[in-house]
């Protein structure tokens, strides 16, 4: 995992990354989304290279019970199921909900936590909007792809309310207070966290739960044997009080957990333990992880651009010099890649093809970005090659140069000058597009910033830091290109 990296050279970083994908026998790789934040999984404010949260401790408990060492893998929350199936990690634990669909397609552990789906409404609406039935025709926000969202979809048809789906669990509450939505339906842990962030003002949480759900661990469908072992460990942890201790530590314990434990493991309530104080977060604690994430972004962009340039040259040469079938294939490649979203291509490459070839996330990211940008590079190179006057090429032929020599000595060097400015543009664009690969579990600069922002509950400082780092990388590139152009066009 990335959080464990020191300031290593790019090559070592890559090697370490690839090594981490292998999953040695003594390690239990578990996936979660640190962007989900406390108390599930969050970057440790004291040491941003570490994660903490009750799901972290549940994972460590499971690993210990299996005689292994827990190791965290960052994954986007909505991608946990696909990632575990393709083998990025053995078990996903990050407020993963127990749903019939999940049970049907994956190996799911016994539930280890019981949560309530609760409604949050503006304080003045406390009496007006007490349940879903009172929200007829109103806008109700939640996190997309959750049980709460499914509840809202069902209510859309029966109650005529309007579900509003968000990608994160912070903005729904901000929009509730701002009046953009009339209620938020989410897990009580998330609702209470949101209320604490707002110092208890702006909205209230209705005491009556809309529904009850349970958190589970999710494993790949063929891993049912491991799932059974995990179940044994979880039941033991319910009986001996380990889980209760963890939940009390994170202030998420309530009597319904005891009921759940009794149902699942047939156990009595163990002794309570004390909660710990949370340490304050600071900007300085995050700088090392931002630095590492920036290094990932820089390395990822440089490698992707190298792939894009090499493949782009091959494609452009094919389109300019190749026979008709080669030209047709290259044209199809360029049009398909340019005509479909990069995000879709990344998903297909990483998740879609995982049955055929299981690419490590970083490699998939480099290939995805590189092959996408190769299509744009190819068009730049083709235009640049065709911009070199035909009579120069004919003059070269009359002098006895081979076609390869003409490309190398006459056409290529001039085309490079034409291509330089658009290439620089593309490199800068790629640098920023590299943020998309966070969907493949790669924690790069933007993802790390999002984790950081969620952790401290503000985007202002993280956003500015992140922008400064991107500019620090892109501005010198533009400067370099201008310098080269000036030198080549010197009168």
């Amino acid at each position: 995992m990335i959080h464990g990296f020191g300031f290593a050279t790019p090559g070592l970083l890559l090697a370490a990354w690839l090594g981490a994908q292998g999953g040695p026998g003594v390690t239990l790789l578990w996936g979660g989304d640190a962007e989900g934040g406390a108390p599930f999984v969050e970057a440790d404010p004291a040491d941003a290279s570490q994660v903490r949260g009750f799901d972290v401790e549940v994972a460590e408990t499971i690993a210990r019970g299996l005689g292994r060492h827990a190791r965290f893998v960052q994954v986007q929350w909505s991608s946990i199921d696909q990632s575990v199936e393709r083998g990025d990690f053995a078990i996903g634990l990050s407020g993963v909900e127990d749903t019939p669909a999940r049970r049907a397609h994956h190996a799911v552990t016994v539930p280890y936590f019981s949560f309530r789906e609760v409604l949050a409404v503006r304080s003045e609406d406390r009496d007006r909007f007490s349940g879903l039935a009172t929200l007829r025709g109103r806008r109700v926000a939640t996190l997309g792809g959750t049980m709460a969202y499914d509840l809202l979809l069902a209510a859309r048809d029966s109650l005529d309310l309007i579900p509003v789906s968000y990608d994160d669990d912070v903005h729904p509450y901000a929009d509730l207070v701002a009046g953009r939505v009339d209620a938020v339906l989410l897990d009580h842990i998330i609702a209470e966290r949101a209320l604490r962030r707002r110092a208890g003002t702006g909205f209230v949480i209705q005491p009556q739960a809309v529904a009850v759900g349970r958190y589970v661990g999710v494993l790949a469908n063929p891993d049912s044997a491991l799932r059974d072992s995990v179940d044994v460990v979880l039941r033991a942890a319910m009986r001996d009080g380990t889980l209760e201790r963890i939940f009390r530590l994170w202030n998420v314990w309530d009597p319904s957990q005891g009921d759940l434990f009794r149902r699942v493991a047939g156990t009595a309530l163990p002794e309570p333990t004390e909660a710990i104080a949370r340490s304050a977060s600071s900007v300085w604690a995050y700088l090392p992880s931002l630095g590492r994430a920036a290094a990932i972004t820089a390395l990822l962009s440089a490698l992707s651009m190298a792939v894009a340039v090499v493949v782009g040259l091959v494609v452009a040469s094919g389109r300019v010099y190749g026979p008709a079938p080669v030209r047709a294939v290259m044209t199809v490649y360029v049009e398909v890649v340019r005509g479909t979203p990069l995000l879709l291509q990344l998903f297909v490459l990483y998740y879609g093809l995982s049955g055929l070839v299981r690419l490590p996330a970083f490699l998939a990211a480099v290939l995805g970005l590189g092959l996408n940008y190769a299509a744009y590079e190819a068009e730049i190179y083709r235009a640049a090659l065709e911009a070199v006057s035909r009579t120069q090429l004919e003059a070269a032929r009359t002098l006895g140069f081979s076609e390869a020599q003409i490309l190398r000595l006459v056409r290529g060097p001039q085309a490079l000058r034409y291509a330089l400015a658009p290439m620089t543009n593309d490199f800068v664009a790629l640098l920023k597009d590299s943020s998309l690969v966070s969907v493949l579990t790669v924690v790069e600069l933007t993802k790390q910033t999002a984790i950081y922002a969620t952790n401290i509950g503000s985007w202002i400082v993280p956003g500015m830091l992140c922008a400064v780092v991107y500019l620090a990388m892109s501005l010198p590139l533009a400067r370099l290109a201008r310098g080269l152009e000036r030198r080549w066009s010197a009168a």
Binding site: S389, T391, Q392, E394, A395, A396, R397, T398, L399, G400, F401, S402, E403, Q405, L409, V410, P413, Q414, R417, W488, A491
Partner: protein, 262 residues
């Protein structure tokens, strides 16, 4: 003495139009031949066919024993012997824009003929000097005047030492004084100097002054065939064909040197 270049009954169609119908022309070693005609007469097409840059549809071209047949231009690998024998100076000079004058001349020496760099530089500087542009060796093409670029292009074509030199409107970018000096240079190239063999020169031009002063023979091209041929004096002083007279009439005009050729 057999001809260095023998073009026989050349037919060349371009976009459904017969540019050349049955062109027959010969150039011997030591000879400067002016291929004359109005704009669009097909002079450039004839040169391009002889330099194997352009397909032709009937007839035959033989360059110093190397025969070109009708049909598509053969791949470069089969044209090596021809490339060694023929140099072509393009009307727009077509210098390599990213290289200096000197590098334009040495590029073929070092990469095609595999000469050492110092040797190539020395030969190129000597050539540029003999054409009066030795002082411009370090300049890029866009820094050269039209006349300078023209002479660098001639030096580039001459560097591999071809037996046959084809030139397309070499005087187009030159003032009258430069034209005279170019003409003398071309005569020297044709005659051979310092014990070396002479070359054959085929010059596409509509510059009657230049042809009269410097060409051994003139072939006038009209309607895709040579309508009149003979010594420069015979053809240009006593024209027998209307096309030749039209050419001479145009040559009297003040803008003759700026006209472009096909």
């Amino acid at each position: 003495m057999t001809a260095l270049l023998a073009v026989h009954e050349l037919r060349l169609t371009y976009e459904a139009r017969d540019v050349l119908r049955a062109l027959t022309v010969e150039v011997k070693r030591g000879e400067v031949v002016a291929l004359m005609g109005l704009s669009g007469a097909g002079k450039t097409s004839a040169l391009r066919a002889a330099a194997a840059l352009q397909r032709f549809h009937a007839g035959r071209i033989v360059v110093d024993g190397f025969a070109l047949e009708p049909g598509p231009v053969p791949p470069e690998s089969r044209l090596r012997p021809l490339r060694r024998r023929v140099g072509l100076v393009f009307q727009g000079h077509a210098l390599f824009e990213h290289l200096t004058a000197l590098e334009n001349v040495t590029l073929a020496l070092t990469h095609v003929l595999r000469r050492r760099h110092e040797e190539a530089d020395e030969a190129a500087l000597q050539l540029l000097g003999s054409l009066g542009v030795g002082g411009r060796a370090g300049a890029l093409p866009r820094q050269l005047s039209g006349g300078e670029a023209q002479r660098v292009a001639i030096a580039r074509a001459l560097a591999p030492d071809p037996a046959l030199l084809l030139m397309d409107e070499p005087t187009a970018a030159l003032d009258p004084a430069r034209r005279g000096s170019l003409g003398r240079t071309l005569r020297r190239l044709a005659a051979g100097d310092g014990g070396r063999e002479g070359r054959g020169l085929l010059i596409a031009t509509h510059d009657t002054e230049f042809a009269r002063a410097h060409a051994d023979r003139v072939a006038v091209l009209a309607d895709g065939v040579v309508v009149e041929t003979g010594s420069a004096a015979d053809v240009l002083d006593r024209p027998s064909h209307p096309a030749t007279r039209a050419l001479l009439a145009e040559g009297d005009g003040p803008t003759a040197a700026q006209n472009s050729s096909s």
